[in-house]
């Protein structure tokens, strides 16, 4: 099967590249080994200096509204991090002290949202917090099984009964100027977070839960749908195994599901992610990139891969594939002429700073521009 471009990896970087190329009239396919890091997406982009109109337009056309309000984002454990751009339902504040009095509302029996940590963090900023738990009869069914009390399951119920939450919160609300709710709204119906904000006479802030991330899954679904509407082929659950390369040009890749039916293309993009997504693999002796066998930047001395202090900066998180200046992946010291590496497989990111989304977007656009301006051999 022949395409203009085949993309390995269907997360944020792969989808942004795929949508951009489809929009430019190129026929593409995405090979995605299961779901991706968008399922852990905070909903904010940190490492962007300005709102790239290209990105906001791309998201807008997929039905995802972004807002550019540089400031700080409230993290699930009550700390703050800088951010520039975010999904509409993720609030960014000019400074950590964004309110005076805060009402934190959680659901009874839901353990993936840390109300007391949040309260502790906000008290440090001089905000007064009150925690309350909601118990709704519609959620009884969920409470029967511990595996059901998770963000996505609650979000499915909330798409139906969000109005009840508004009513209950209005009853609980005293003199607080801010209400914090777990981010479990608007999985299918994207208008829900906005309508909740309208219904509650205080500033409503949705704060992240333990994975999976509801705004992340929503983003994944909408971007994938947009990609498919544009005619892209999304091969979900398939795995790129190896590539056929001659004279530093990639001709095709072999996948697990299509076996002897090779995916041919003029251009290839590697957006297969880091260690979690198995874009990078490690064993006790080395770190490798399994599909194209690209050279990987890492320390020869294994003891230097990590620091013993778990929460310290971990060097291995910086490891990634080697590329030239225009993102061509390098194998055996030689750049592959029609392969571009984008997203977290590039390494050099600080996941703890949340710079993954920004890197994914910027490198995706850079690779797309290279492809659109390059001449096919």
């Amino acid at each position: 099967m022949k395409h203009d471009t085949v993309i390995v990896g269907g997360g944020l970087a792969g989808l942004v590249a795929g949508i951009s190329l489809q929009r430019a009239g190129r026929g593409t396919a995405i090979v995605s080994t299961g779901q991706n890091a968008l399922h852990f997406f905070s909903g904010a982009f940190e490492s962007l200096q300005e709102a790239p109109e290209r990105l906001t337009t791309l998201f807008d056309e997929a039905g995802i509204r972004l807002q550019y309000t540089p400031g700080v984002r409230l993290m699930p454990l009550g700390t703050f991090k800088e951010a520039m751009l975010s999904l509409e339902d993720v609030a960014l504040f000019p400074s950590p002290k964004f309110g005076r009095k805060v009402l934190i509302v959680n659901f009874m029996g839901y353990h993936d949202f840390f109300s007391s940590f949040l309260a502790e963090g906000l008290e440090k900023q001089g905000m007064h917090c009150r925690i309350r738990f909601l118990s709704l009869p519609e959620m009884d069914q969920l409470e029967k099984s511990p595996s059901e009390m998770r963000s996505v399951q609650i979000a499915r119920t909330m798409d139906r009964i969000w109005e009840k939450v508004v009513q209950e919160v209005r009853v609980l609300l005293k003199d607080e100027d801010t209400v914090i709710l777990p981010q479990v709204f608007g999985l299918q119906d994207t208008s829900v977070p906005g309508r909740i904000r309208q219904g509650i006479p205080a500033r409503v802030v949705f704060v992240g839960t333990l994975p999976p991330s509801v705004p992340g899954i929503r983003t994944q679904m909408l971007l994938k749908r947009r990609y498919e509407v544009l005619g892209g082929t999304y091969l979900m659950g398939d795995e790129a195994l190896t590539a056929h390369v001659h004279d530093s040009v990639v001709h095709s890749i072999v996948t697990k599901n299509l076996d002897r039916h090779y995916l041919e293309a003029d251009h290839f993009i590697l957006a297969s992610g880091g260690f979690f997504s198995k874009g990078l693999r490690s064993n006790p002796f080395s770190i490798s990139e399994p599909v194209f066998g690209l050279d990987v930047e890492y320390d020869e001395d294994r003891n230097a891969w990590y620091q013993k202090n778990f929460s310290a900066d971990q060097p291995y998180m910086q490891y990634g594939v080697k590329t030239d200046e225009t993102l061509h992946g390098i194998a055996g010291g030689v750049p592959l002429k029609n392969l571009y590496a984008i997203g977290s497989i590039l390494g050099g990111t600080h996941p703890e700073l949340g710079s993954g989304a920004g890197l994914a977007i910027r490198s995706a656009f850079a690779a797309v521009d290279e492809i659109l301006t390059s001449k096919t051999e």
Partner: protein
Amino acid sequence: MKLQEYTVSKHNFEECMKCTICTAYCPVLQVNPLYPGPKQAGPDGERLRLKDPYFFNYALKYCMNCKRCEVACPSGVNVADLIQAARIKYDSSKPKLRDQLLASTDFMGTVARPVAPIVNGVTSMGIAKTAMDALLKIDRQRTFPKYSPRSFERWLKRREKEQAAFPEQVAYFHGCYVNYNYPQLGKDLVKVLNALGVGVKLLEKEKCCGIAMITNGMSEKAAKNARHNVAALRKAAVDGGLKVVTTSSSCTLTIREEYPNLLGVDNADVRDSIVMATRYIFEKLEKGATLKFKADFHKKIAYHVPCHMEKMGWGVFSEKLLRMIPGVEFTLLDSACCGIAGTYGFKKENYAAAQAIGAALFDQICTVNPDVVACDCETCKWQIEMSTGYTVANPISILAEAIE
């Protein structure tokens, strides 16, 4: 002590890193609180079951084996296989009469076919449905597949010579549905393949692939069928050097994947020869073969990728074939389960869940309002036709209709 036995599990279960992504994509978990969910039922439960079979949970029967957890898993864990394998290994309860009847598709076909008009009349009667509902717990709201008075095998056998005259040959694993219920699909396949210069042969004798037996606690019977089928496939594929084409995504997945992974039946030498007809045809066209399409063909088609097609990753072939037909307005429906999952939705205890699972898909179909819904699975066809009123056709039938 065989340490390996305790440290390495089949189905990649030790790769699970507890990310919970599978639970977000399980259709059953969305509607049935009695089901523990794929993570709990699969890798989490497996740890406990390996220690002590006491931890086997009978709620695992609510798994529909749709494999969506496996498609979603970023770590390559075969979650659904873990669950089905646990049911095979630990569930000692005997299957109920109802489940045995539902699972024995070729037995039922053999019995019903000669008296098809009577059977079809009875199964659509209200009183019979009420009786089956009360006695067998087969939900009365279900529409039953009709039986055909003539089998596909008989139809093709009478054309043996004519088919043998084509320069190229393939074998066809038609499955119970084509043979007993809807021979037209088989005839459509023969029409399309003949147009490509390919003649169609039957296998020496095929039996039901066994998928319904696996999910209904009759794995020994399924394994027996599997051994029989692999031998028949071997004759065609290895001895005869033929490709074996199929038109049912679930039969195909069962023969290619479930035989070795769940039933322990080795199919290594025949596996690669078994392909969905849409893939076979796509590859032929890619290599330069051509089909002559009608000039005035016009159809708005919405394509639903069946769960097992999604698991195999071959929906792309059906999609690209349909898009190739001039005059087709194509919509790819969102990836979702229709809820029937073979015999699952026929059972009274699952009826409400099956309809709730399919609701999003049904809504989308109604919004798209196509002339026909394309789908490679017969049970999806029953479910979507019953629940939406839209006609569902296999991509092969649509192709047959579109060519001269």
